[in-house]
Every structure is written in C-alpha cells, then in structure tokens.
Amino acid sequence: MKRLAAVVALLGMAAVSACSSTDNKPAATGGAAAAAAVYTTVDGNKPGIDPAGPANPFAPKGNSFSGYNAMKLAWVKNHLTDPNQFYPGIAESWEIATDNSSVTIKLQPNNKWSDGSPVTAEDVKLSIAIAYTQGNTAFTQVPGAAGSASEVTVVDDKTIKVTQDMANPVTTFARGVLDTPVVPAKLWSSVVGADIWDKIKAARTEGADAEAARTYLTELGKKIIAHNPGQDLSAGPYVLERVNASAALLKKNPHFYNAANVAPEKVQLLNFTGNEQVWNYLIQGKLDSSPFVAVPADTMTKIKATAGNQVIKGYSPVVVGLAFNQSKAPYDNVHVRRGLAYLINREEVTQIASPEGGTAAVTTSGIHQKAAAEWLGAELGNLEPFATDVAKAEEEFKAAGLKKSGDKWTLADGKPWKVSMHAPAGFSDWVAAQENIKNQLIKAGVDAEVVTTADFPLYQTEMAEGKYDTGFWLIGLGPAPYNIFQRIYGAANGWANIGGKVTHNAPGKNGNWMGSKEEVEVEGLGKVNPGELTAKLNAVSPEEQKALMLQLAKTANADLPVIQLWDYVNTQFQNTTRFTGFPADDSDLLRLPHGVWIQLGLVKAKS
C-alpha cells in the first residue's frame, strides 16, 4: 500500500511538473545566468537525431556534430573565388607550397582530447588514413586521380606534412587536406588496423592486388561508419553529455585549446525532421541561431516578430537553373532556349518562389552573381542579360523555325508544342517557380505544364535517364571553379574527367541527360569544347583560371544549356536575447557550422 501511495504521489508530482514545465519556453526563462549557460540551435546537416547513434563523425546518423564535438583540421571559408582559405581548427596554421605540391600543418599546441590527452600528429595521420576509406579529394583510392596525396609525413608531434602527387595536380589540394575530420587514434586505431598504409599504397597502383586493396578499403569504410567508439572523445569545444530523440546535449570540453573563450557552458541541438519544426522553434524564440531553412513569407513575418530574432543574409554558392534536355526537340535548337529565356521574367519567378532566400539572376553565366562579379569583373556586364522581351523571343522562335498558329506557338511541322517542366513534390519553391513560369509562358502563347515527381530520388533517377524535357538543376556550386562549371559541363552533360583525362559520352549514355554538343560555336571565341575547358580549371594558375572562367561564362551565356533563374541567399536567423557576437551580413562565417563561431570565441553571453 505504501509503495502504491509512493507511485501515486510521484505521478501526481509528475502531472504537476508536466503542467508547469517550461521546456516549451526559451531558455531565457531560467534567468540571465541560466540563459547564457545553454546555447540552443539545430544542426542543419543532421535532421532526425538518433539516440542510438554512435559518437562517430563518419556515421550519417552519428552523434558527432561538426564544429561542436567533431573537428576538422581547418574550416573551409568557401571564399567567393579562393577555395584555399580557412579558419583554424585542429590546425593552428598551415603553409601551402607555391606550386601546391605540399601542405605543412602545425597543430594547435595546447589542444587536448576531452580526457586530457594531447592531440598529436599521429592522430591526424590516422584520420588521414580513415579519409582514404570515406571520400576526400586529397585522399583517394583511385590511381592517378587528380589532386591526390602521395605522401603523409609526421614531422614532429605537432607538425605533419602532406605531399601532392604532381603527376596530376590540382590547385585545391590544400582544401581537400585541411577539410579532413580528426579522430583520436586511441579509439580508432583498432578498427583501422596496423597495415592500413600498405593497403593504401597498394590501392593506388594498378593490377589485381590493387583491386583487392581497394575492395579492402571500401569494406573498411563500412566498418568505420558503423563503428561505435563507446565514448565521445572530443577535441572540439564540446563533448556529448546525453542524447534523446528530442535533442542532443553537449557540455563544454575544458581541455579545448580556446576553452577560455567558449561562452556557452552547454549546447543543445534540437531535433528536426522538416523545416516546419525549425520555423516553430524560431517563432517561439527557442533558437539562439539557426542555419539556412527555406521559409514562406507569412512564417517569416512571424519569425521576425519574435523578440530578439534577426535575419542575417550572406552568400550561398548555389544557383537554380532551368536545364534543358537537348536530346529532345525543340530544345536542341539554341534559338528555342534563348526564346524561352527572353520570355521568363526571373524577378517575378523569384518573388513568387523564394522572396527571402533568393535574388533573381541578372544573366546566365553559370556562376552565382556575387562570384561572377569577382571572376568576370566588367565583362559580366557584356553578357546578354536576357531581360524579358517578347519581341526578341518571337524573333528567336522564328529563327528556330517554330510557327505561330493563332495565339499559340507550334513546332516547325505544325504539331503542338508544350514545355514540360519537372520538379520533385515537396520542393515547394521549385514547384511554385515552375507554376509561375508556366503561367508566363502560356500568356506568351507557349503551352506549358508542371509535372511533379513523387520524391527526390525518383526525380534524380528519371532526370539522369533523360525522361524529362526540362527540369530544375542546381548550378554554380562553388567556390572551386572546377566545381562551378562541372555542374553544366560535367558528367550530366557528357564530359567524364577520370584521372585528368577528359572524354565525352554521347547523349543518353553514362548519365549524359543534358545532351549539349561536344563543341559549341561562340561569338568571339570560335569553337569551344566547354568540358575540356572545365577540366583545365582544376590545375591552372589563378590568372589562367580567370581567363577560362570568362570563356566558360560566355559559352554558357551564348549556348544556354541552362537558364539561370535565381541565386540562393544564405538566410539565417539569430536571437540576440541571450547571446551576442554573431557574424554579420555577408560574413564568410555564415557558411560554417555555428559551433565554429563559438569555438573561435565570437559568441558571447549577454550580460
């Protein structure tokens, strides 16, 4: 009876606690000191926290959060034009050889793992070995791959040197090296095995042994992402305290090299499975900061109305384009593509689809507007802007041989023409944009339709199979110049770049769904093979890169494999009620995990 009474009493107290709990309110309700103690945010890269997930930075559902309890050698800035700029991480400094042949890395002299043991060059070397199994441009198993390391040398306890294989070098070698996650050798060496470097060496040659070594490394890669180290040993500003299906709680790592400047005592990373949960957190003022999420206009108004919330905007190297499948008529005719570009009012499309998260593209260059200004300078103004102009569109359509029957445009043989645009269901901004384009085209006499695909995997598959006439495609994914143009003149358009050797696949073969011609006639440039120019971007000097970028931008502008619609804006949210010192508009820090802001000592508790 006594036991029953105790249980009843406990449940009664729990009911009272449930009714009076403050866990739905901002952390600030606990007073200024309590508010400053806990920093609340979400990890945009990890939707759906898994309480059973290991503290493993390589596991997709692991509980290692980049910038907080997972560290990289350095944090890539994603500078507009220079991919080799970084903020310090495990590395305090780095020296890149002028010919990019090596990177010498000096580790933070005072950094320790959360158990108090020092972070050493041996930890970094083991982490590099792991990188060979996971995917890293500098540490690749593919023999002869561009920009891969040939040697990793521990110079001393706090210095490590990584040398590039100069048979096929790239200018972004340092970026690949410094972007490596670092884990403690004491928890990981048993999984990796003592003979790992022999296997890596063997894998980077040719023949049966090399093939066996590559298979071994791929299998090891699986073991590594499934590995549960049993405990979180962090060299970052925080270490995992506990996790449930609602959130992960991290506490300060007193051994972190910059611990004295890390303001929040704890960080809670709230779970989310969709944008709407992040919107709710923001409306309730729960988040001290939030990475980019697409937000509809009415929700944005509510978020802005919450005390302390502010919207910060920065550069995002992502552009949305309407891509054509040139294997299908009439999109194989450049005049049709140009005519459509003259009909689409991009300002209107952007206003409808992404008023807060995008700016209408000023032209089609294949590059984000901000980066294009840096790469192309005054030449950007010389590109055809494709401002809305119905008369010019009609001229282009006529040049393509299309006919106008009454109010409607038809194909050259008089058959009906309908522009069919595809987008995955759930991508509300894409669908809204296509609906708007459809209305604009219909108004101009071009029949059009929007077809939604069940989900993104199906969209990607069908697009790659060449089933769509047109669809949305992300381009301009910088900052590395090769990465920018390989979206238009890479594998999706037929050009394969294997080990620095460029080949072209025919439309419909090996993932070539865009189907551009291998060579394009461009006014002022003559015949251009844009895939070969793109491949060259990997290895040439910055000056030569500039010249190539201009040629490619002119080619994209003249040939229009894609109509550039809007450049994404990195719209983030900060709440200044509890903390200050957040990065301002246009800061390159906005492109980094928010844990990096904290570890660099920028975020301060509000007094």
Partner: protein, 331 residues
C-alpha cells in the same frame, strides 16, 4: 483446453504462412520502388557544398550496406535471415541492425498508441452504454453525434487541430515534438516523468479521440441489440434488479468489441504514421517515412514485416480471446 490448443496450432500455422507471403510481397515491392537513393544522396551532398568526387566515394560507402547480387539471391538471404530474426542492416543508420533500429523506435509508438487505445476504449465503452440506455435523451443524442463526428474526422486532421490549438496557439504543449526535454536529467523523477507526459500528451490525445467515436457507436449499437434480446425481457419480467440486468447487457454487448480491440492493438505499429509526423514523435511511423524517403530497403521491409506480424498475432489473440470469454464459441 484441447479445443483451444488445437485452435492455436491452426492459427499459428496459418499465421506463419501469412507472414511468409507478406514478407515475400513486401520484399519485392520495396526493392522495386523506382528512384535511385545514391543519386539523390550524392546530389544532396554536392548541393550542400561537398566536393563531387569526395561525395561520390562517401555515398558509395554508405550505400555499401545495401545487399548486392541478384534479386533471387537477395531474397534467399533475406528469408535465411528471417529464420534467425535478422532483418538485415540499415543503410540510413549505416550498419546498424534493423532489429535494433526498429526496437528503439517501436517503444515510442507502442506506449502512446496503447495508452490512447485503452483510454478511448474505456471511455467509449462506458459512454456507449450510457448513450444506448439514454438513447431518447438529449445527452444520449449528444454522445451519439460526438461519436459520429469524431469517427468521421481523419486522424491527421484531428492531430493538426490539436497541434494548432494546444501547442501553437495556447502553447500548453511542445509543438516541435520529441520525447523529453534534454535539459532534464533522465530518471524516475517527477520532472522527467512530467516532461515525458508533456511530450506524449498530444499524440496520445489524438489516438484517443480518433478512436473514441468508433467505440461509442459500436458499444451503443451492441447494447441496443442486446436490450432487445428475449433473455433481457425475461429477466425484467422475473423482476430482477436493474444492476443485475445491466451486468447481463454489458457482458453480452461487449463481446464483439473485444474482437475490435484486439485487432486495433494489432494496428499499434501501423496507425502512427500521420500522428508521429504531425507531432514529430520519433516512433515507428516516422522511421517508416524516413526509410521510404531514403530508400532504406532493409528498414522498410523490416517495418512492414513488424506491422504484419503484429496484425497476425492480434488476429490470433482475438480469436483465442473470444474462445475464452464466450462459452458458446467453445462449444
């Protein structure tokens, strides 16, 4: 007893065949869902800023957990695994056994759904009897109408309404879901139990309200039928007390509802998809959505199989329960 054992043996044999058939069908359907998850994952990583070459290798490793070989050999391996309760390896959870992933999620589905069903059953049955006995009164009408209304409203509409009123507008419950406030130390303490209750309250209430209408209507109809039976008339004519007559009525009227209750319990695992999505409650429904989006074939097959097994077991239990509680069936 022998009758029950014989029945049980028959049910088990039929259940096993049913499970095998469903496992086979779901295996082939799941693996033939169009859409390449690797292409989508690669595109997502590249769009998020990863280098395309590095991202390709990363995706290759993650999706390395997917079974390879011909569909037939995969099927044979799958069945061999099933014999040892091995449902395969999750791709989404990189290398974690599907059984572990499902067990972790299932607890957050079973408890709230069970609570919701039992609450609605108790309240629905009591009010259903009342609605039948007072069927000519205003209160009886109100109960019947409320039952019809709630029975007709889909679960997800009810969930959205409750979320809009109690979480978004009034702010009484967390709108973003989850199971507990992470800042509260887990343990058998009022604070922790309180936060668990707060997070589970709206999902449980939605389950309860969504099934309440069915119980009220079914019980009312059953009681009205029993009230018209000759043995009730005979009891009244013999001058039996109303309380005894009521026991007769209740015992006979509730029989069909037990079958429905057992079948509802079988749908414990299946009925949570919309509600968990609305409240971001991390149960089996949310995991199923996640597995479909990411084309985690092993996890999808495992979740479907779990739902099937639950329904088959519930059917067997319902049949056996009926044999136990209704002497006429035993004879």
């Amino acid at each position: 007893m022998t009758v029950v054992l014989k029945k049980l043996a028959g049910h088990l044999a039929r259940g096993l065949v049913m499970i095998l058939v469903v496992a086979t069908i779901s295996f082939f359907i799941v693996r033939n869902i169009p859409g390449d998850p690797m292409k989508a994952a690669l595109e997502m990583k590249v769009a998020a800023g990863a280098d395309p070459v590095a991202a390709a290798q990363e995706v290759k490793v993650i999706y390395g957990f997917q079974p390879t070989g011909s569909m037939w050999s995969q099927y044979v391996d799958y069945l061999a695994g099933l014999a040892t309760f091995d449902l395969g390896t999750s791709t989404l959870h990189a290398g974690q056994p599907v059984t572990e992933v499902l067990t972790e999620s299932a607890k957050w589905t079973v408890l709230p759904v069970l609570l919701g069903i039992l609450m609605s059953f108790l309240v629905g049955v009591i009010l259903g009897v009342y609605a039948a006995l007072r069927r000519s009164s205003k209160l009886g009408d109100i109960l019947a109408i409320s039952g019809s209304l709630l029975h007709g409203v889909p679960q997800y509409v009810l969930g959205l309404l409750l979320a809009a009123i109690f979480a978004t507008s009034l702010g009484w419950f967390p709108s973003e879901g989850g199971v507990a406030d992470i800042l509260i130390e887990p343990g058998f303490t009022p604070e922790y139990i309180g936060t668990l209750i707060r997070h589970a309250a709206l999902p449980v209430l939605t389950y309860a309200l969504a099934s309440y209408g069915g119980w009220v209507l079914a019980m009312k109809s059953s009681v009205v039928t029993v009230l018209g039976d000759d043995f009730i008339l005979a009891s009244e004519l013999r001058g039996m007390k109303r309380s005894i007559i009521f026991r007769y009525v209740a015992r006979n009227a509730i029989l069909p509802l037990f079958t429905i209750l057992a079948l509802s319990l079988g749908l414990l695992f299946a009925g949570a998809v919309f509600i968990e999505r609305i409240f971001n409650y991390p149960g089996l429904g949310l995991k199923l959505i996640d597995s479909v989006t990411n084309r985690d074939y092993a996890l999808m097959s495992g979740a479907f199989l779990l739902i099937t097994v639950a329904i088959v077991v519930a059917n067997i239990l319902a049949d056996l329960l009926y044999t136990v509680i209704d002497p006429r069936v035993r004879q």
